[in-house]
């Protein structure tokens, strides 16, 4: 997970989506630096944020953690739906 960043989205036709992204520092801090952005609005963020919180210490994969965040948004937020898309980036050490 160190040195990797992952972004994941759950999308829906009405323009809404959940977004979860992790930027992971080479040395883990107590909590991830977390960015949540949405071009249109920010929805599903509470579910995603807390799922990331619960998953962070239980996976070494940034992508897996990000997907947990989006899945929680899809599970509980009416404006989020599968499928999820995710993208991985190798971070500069």
């Amino acid at each position: 997970m160190v040195g990797l960043a992952s972004l994941a989205y759950g999308s829906l036709g009405n323009g809404g989506f959940s977004f979860a992204g992790l930027r992971l520092a080479p040395l883990r801090s107590a909590l991830p630096t977390l960015h949540q952005k949405n071009v249109f609005n920010l929805i599903g963020k509470r579910y995603s944020l807390s799922a990331l919180y619960a998953a962070y210490e239980h996976s070494d994969s940034a992508e897996t953690i990000a997907k947990w965040g989006v899945e929680a948004g899809i599970e509980f937020n009416v404006n989020s739906a599968a499928p999820i898309t995710s993208y991985r980036i190798e971070l500069i050490q």
Binding site: Y47, Y53, A54, F76
Partner: protein, 189 residues
Amino acid sequence: MSTLVVVKKKGKACIAAETLTSFGSRWQRAAYVTEPDKIQQFGDNYIGIVGSAAHHHVVESIFSKTKKMPSFKNRLAIFEYFRKLHPRLKNKYFLNPKDEDDDPYESSQMDLFIANRYGIFGVFSLREIDEYEKFWSIGSGSDYALGAMYAAYDQFEEAEEIARIGVEAGIEFDDGSDAPITAYNVDLI
């Protein structure tokens, strides 16, 4: 405010909550009060309440006067109990039953969870009753708790571990929730 959760897994149920009370912009942390717990035990039932602090005293008063605790064994039994309780809340406890103009029924104003050997249940202001199969949460931190428990449910075996993660997420992100956490476990039938 508050984060209150119930979890059911592998024959056990857990009800857990944080302990912050807030009055407008003032926080009253657990260390300042004798009984900060948002969960009370009556017979074999654990009852957790969110919303007005007065609800806590009303429920305590009602059940302390009850000679035989209702079984609360299923949704209908719980519904019938709270249906009969509603006029008592109005007449003896001065409940204001007015909520939204378009509500189909008078409000009992309380949202609460019941955990007992029969399962985990939610009771809501219009006396809607839910029984849960996995987990649920109410209170201002409930969205955070739901997301965290969704991520945690398959990763942990113990209902209490999952419940605590849910409440911890509420404490981490919701400004109406704070430590310490109280949690109670029940063996399910």
